[in-house]
Amino acid sequence: MTSSDSTDYKVLGTRPIRHDGADKVTGRAIYGPDFDTAGLLHGKILRSPHAHARIISIDTSEAEALDGVMAVVTGADWPNNSNGTSMVEDGTGTEIESNSNWLRENLLAGDKVLYAGHAIAGVAAASPHVAEEALALIEVKYEVLEPVLTIQEAMAKNAPILHEGLTTQELGEDSGVVSNTADHFQHTKGNIEKGFEAADVVVEREYNTVMVHQGYIEPHNGTALWNTDGRLHVWCSTQGSFVVRDSLSDLLDIPVSQIRVTPTEIGGGFGGKIPIYVEPVAALLSKKTGSPVKIVMSRKEVFEGSGPTAGSNIKIKLGAKSDGTITAAHAWMAMEAGGYPGSPVGAAAQCVFAAYDIENALVDGYDVVVNKPKTAPYRAPGAPNAAFGMEQAMNELAEMLQMDPIDLRLKNVATEGTRRVDGPTFRRIGAKEVLETMRDHPHYQAAKTEGHGRGIAIGFWFNIGFDSACNIAVNSDGSINLTEGSTDIGGSRTSIAMHAAEVLGIPVEDVRPSVVDTDTIGFTAVTGGSRTTFATGWAAYEAAQDVKKQSIERAASIWDVDSDTLNMEDGVIKSKTDSELKMTFKELASQMSDTGGGITGRASVNPKGVGGSFAGNMVDVSVDDETGKVTIERFTCVQDVGKAIHPSYVEGQMQGGSAQGIGWALNEEYFMNDQGNMANSSLLDYRMPTSLDLPMIDTAIVEVANPGHPFGVRGVGEANIVPPTPAIANAVSDATGNIMTQLPLTPGAVLDSGK
């Protein structure tokens, strides 16, 4: 562990038991599907069997007539006064344009269905079984159209068009050409022609990856009650209750003041629970019936009707001098957006060369619609696809130059002041420290086992700030109640509470953190973009500072001294000049009501000073010669986290991202037939890693403090999923001698790679 920060913290860096722990190990915690209320109806959604079709007619009359059915809704039930576009805060905290007509059509189709699984109608009934029976009675007439299933097909001349009104945008300019390419952009730095002329060696290769799913264990769900006073109350598992509120306001055309979203406990998200799916349908059904309506997706619906991440087609070309200096780099990347525009290609393009200081570079990015589910964010969206190509090309380069792959990376590594290919310069980052930790790690130092392959790779992901709010109320026993709005997917309540405990010098057990609804806390952006501990933690830090300031002032008034003469350390307020004058925070709290009333602190922040994170992997694999099956024998994840607030949960993020990356590398894929139907939409056939598939996942936390944050925190949640796919591909190449240009590395694909 390297640490550039020797600050002596009392709470940060310890491993307390999470505040919601007892509820979660006893089954008491209420997740979205567990929510119940009097008179609850159950909703189900009818989905398209076709990947591309025009809807001629929908007849719901028989379904409506079924005993126990209370209401049926279709796309015709959307309010029709949309202004066309709206601003929705997305996973990285960027306000993105979201065409609300597209959003509506994705949740209940308009005149076209754009993927198999596209929602068409919703039914509310007394039981989920009756609702399901009713779905079978809805008659939809389709004109089936030719599906467009790959990037290559979509970008081909004369390809069937998904959206007749879609024209390619080029950074604010409308090309006017109707196309399946929604967006094209470019980053340039220096002059790549000159850069390649100066190169002694050049590698060039094309890489393909396919659509994969986040795979959270809890399906999407939501319960809506459209009350008689016109207020809509929604309970759901979401990564962002305010995003749900604002999207509902926009889709249903009612003011945000009329909507209250109560986030329940959430069973995983990884980005996939940033967008909304079933909540507005439940709301429309509730409006029609006057009863609360709950919708829970089935696993098949989660695969076919929520948002996986994009498959991609990426070409990488690198040129380098014989000493290893990279002289030029070119990336051409096209990514699948799914049925509506918005793939993660923008982020992929910003991340592809981020780890390196490259003088001449060009990146072209294309956002392409295809007849597959509309993609959604998935942990460091786009970056693993980019790294799969780039980090394999780096190893190929190392091989050509006969250099150690870590040394080649260190030779070119980005550091503070490096200008990224997309323009901005890096502040203090830890790419170099991550590589050095890898180089010196026992895993890398250990000799490879005979017959095993070893691979390494590194990857980058951003961290965002954006809005977070926090309130703190002091209790008379010296404990504090902390309320915040970031839904807790992986123990963030506790890491946020630790910020407040550190500032006030109290034990973290004396902090009661609660995640509250949208009526009860200030606007808080999504749990995503690696921002929760960073930004909501920052809000807790500020709110605790507010409490601290008021506590000192209160003590000053009790002692009749100037508050400037006092300070508060380790939970004790004391005079700087008079050693007699001191009192604990607890004592002060017990006197609050006699000395001027309760103390509450508050903060709303939109912090700058974000610090991106680098992660690296070392992996040893064995490959069965006969079957092609790859086994992960040893796996190490190294990550710069700035400052590990709760090291156990930081390790947990690193291990979880690694496991998802391993699944992505070896097994996971949307297996589509030629009509665009997913052939493996169950957890049996969509093969996520089980405990038996993985070894222990070793972690090495690197702490290069982020100078932009009071405690040096960087975003931790995402960078760890970036290096696994290329690290494993590099290891398999090392074992087999063949380059892996395609994911997943299934036994068949590994055997074929030798041909």
Binding site: V25, R28, P33, I266, G268, A659
Partner: protein, 160 residues
């Protein structure tokens, strides 16, 4: 409306009767009829293990058992693992080892792991991984779960 069947069971040591439709799974009955929502649904087809309960001494995925099949059965769910206000050593070990992130898989893991330790108090890492292979966790990468089970096994042996 379908006619309902009267089912008599013992759940977590208490006699529990419920009415269910022939098509309702035991998982649905536990969650929607009896109100024990600690048992979770992740797939409804036997492949995630979130719905794991103990039925007459064997662990089953309750989404693959019909409610009516539970007639006369002795069922143990996550709600019955702690004794009063005392957490089971496995529950404590999950907390101390940070073996849960979102926690949706946790009830299934604890019910499965408990039945493993009941019959094999000192399992190897491989035996733990093998036993838990029908319980999917997408958050943790299993490392801390396996360590929690090892930790609980050790503490239970020390205590006995």
């Amino acid at each position: 409306m379908t006619t309902k069947t009267h089912v008599q069971t013992t759940i977590n040591g208490e006699p529990v009767d419920f009415l269910c439709e022939p098509r309702q799974s035991l998982l649905e009955c536990l969650r929607d009829v009896v109100g024990l929502t600690g048992t979770k649904e992740g797939c409804n087809d036997g492949n995630c293990g979130a719905c794991t309960v103990k039925l007459d001494g064997r662990i089953v995925t309750s989404c693959l058992v019909l409610g009516v099949e539970a007639q006369g059965a002795d069922i143990e769910t996550i709600e019955g693992v702690a004794e009063g206000t005392n957490l089971h050593p496995l529950q404590l070990a999950f907390l101390e080892n940070a073996a849960l992130q979102c926690g949706i898989c946790t009830p299934g893991f604890i019910v499965s792991a408990k039945s493993l330790l009941d019959q094999n108090p000192n399992p190897t890492e491989h035996e733990i991984r093998f036993w838990l292979a029908n319980n999917l966790c997408r958050c943790t990468g299993y490392d801390k779960i396996v360590r929690a089970v090892q930790d609980a096994a050790k503490k239970m042996q020390e205590a006995s």
